[in-house]
Amino acid sequence: MCLGIPGQIVRITDRDRQMAIADVSGVRREVSVACVAGNDIDALIGAWALIHVGFAMALIDEAEAAATLEALRDLGEAQETLAAMAEGAAALEEVRP
């Protein structure tokens, strides 16, 4: 929850809401790019960002993304984040207990 995870922006899904699809270690999910979009949201396609709880918070270069991901894997945080993303997706479908 505290450490961001690198993801690559692959597609803009909603210009008004500033939402995009990011590829995080092979998992695709919709994230907000409001904090990094600037004036040209399309320029984000292909860019790497540190993603915190579904929000791209800083743009980073590819080498930094790779190094960060490795550090997160070492700490077990990458796996935890991917599991949390899966939980999030499941929570949407969950029916009331």
Partner: protein
């Protein structure tokens, strides 16, 4: 096995460790008379243990584990309030998974879920917004937890809900901020702190200037650090050099991610949605002035506290004593090592945490516990 083999660039790690050795010697710090460096962020605590940095650095350097794990500083009464909200039949209570096992006086959110409350772990407040769209007949409450790294996410989500007119979404805001507890620790006459390793991802949002007071008012060095192991060693070296040279300033080791003035969009959203509370309770640290945030009146309809009449300063007594035999407070302030707590590994383990420091891998007790096996082996060799 040599701990250094774990580093991706052992040569650089060795060079940094040698430099740290030299500077520690120049300062004259020894095991009996060490320099105390606090790593504020729980992510750093975790990395220090994962790489055994506390063992690799000379005995003259002592790490004090700071209050930067939001799960660990969450008081029992906040957990109780979450459960109180979650038990309402119309509510779907959403939270980061990290908070699920934090013990409250009536058990944890995990236990409340097992007992029938509709509590769902989500990855992002965006998931909670989506739940609100899909379940117009339910009240979706998101548990806003964390420091400045997660605060923008809930602020932006509240703004989005307001734009969409989503009336069934609210945030139970328990966001906290990093600088006030640091000031409180510096004001504590019992604390001996010679310098700080500052949080990287918090600083990515707030920039480096909120730490100016540490250097200017208290004359202590702080270096904002990344969380890769070499980042941490480099930052410790930078702190030690400042101490040796009698300097105190805010340095940024993580400039590749942390802009001097932070992230303007995030800061604007935080300022728009939140305002400081007069004071807020921290587990182990007590009440700290202006250390928590609440939702401004303009966004009142998205504030679970006013929607459900539950929350900080409402109802039950604010401060609930910690469980019997728990030394979380002393560990939190660096007065006691986790292993010195009588409950450590006995009444308190990561599977069955008694205290909050055992809940998250960023908590000092869980980090000690998790890497204790490897460390004991190492010591035996």
């Amino acid at each position: 096995m040599n701990l250094i083999d774990d580093f991706r660039d052992p040569a650089r790690a060795k060079a940094l460790l040698t430099a740290i050795d030299v500077v520690t010697g120049e300062i004259g710090a020894t095991a009996e008379n060490p320099v105390h460096i606090m790593e504020i962020c729980g992510g750093h605590t975790h990395a220090i243990f994962r790489y055994g940095l506390d063992k690799l650095t000379p005995p003259g350097v002592e790490f004090i584990h700071g209050p930067g794990c939001p799960v660990c500083v969450l008081p029992m009464s906040r957990v109780d309030e979450c459960i109180e909200i979650a038990e309402r039949p119309e509510v779907i209570f959403t939270t980061f998974g990290d908070a699920m096992r934090v013990p409250g006086t009536r058990g944890s959110l995990m236990q409340a879920k097992a007992a029938g409350a509709d509590i769902r772990m989500v990855y992002s407040p965006l998931d909670a917004l989506e739940l609100a769209r899909r379940n117009p007949d339910r009240e979706i409450v998101f548990f806003g937890l964390g420091f400045e790294t997660t605060t923008p996410s809930t602020a932006l989500s509240i703004q989005a809900a307001a734009r969409e007119g989503l009336g069934n979404f609210s945030v139970f805001c328990n966001h906290i901020t990093v600088p006030p507890p640091i000031r409180a620790l510096l004001d504590d006459p019992d604390m001996v702190l010679d310098g700080f390793v500052g949080p990287g991802h918090v600083s990515m949002v707030i920039g480096t200037h909120p730490y100016d007071f540490i250097a200017e008012d208290y004359g202590k060095p702080i270096v904002v650090a990344g969380f890769e192991p070499l980042d941490l060693l480099q930052s410790v070296l930078m702190v030690l050099r400042q101490i040796r040279d009698g300097r105190a300033c805010v340095e940024n080791q993580y400039a590749r991610v942390v802009p001097e003035f932070g992230n303007p969009v995030s800061l604007a959203a935080i300022a728009d949605v939140y305002e400081p509370r007069p004071s807020f309770e921290w587990r182990g640290l007590g009440e700290i002035d202006a250390s928590g945030l609440r939702i401004r009146d303009a966004y009142r309809m998205y504030d679970a506290e006013s929607k459900f009449g539950v929350g900080y300063g409402k109802g039950a007594p604010r401060v609930v004593p910690e469980p019997e035999g728990c030394a979380c407070g002393a560990v939190m302030t660096g007065r006691m090592k986790p292993t010195a707590c009588p409950q450590f590994g006995r009444g308190c383990t990561p599977e069955m945490p008694l205290g909050a420091l055992m809940v998250s891998s960023e908590g000092a007790c869980a980090a000690y516990y998790q890497y204790g096996g490897a460390r004991a082996l190492e010591a035996a060799e």
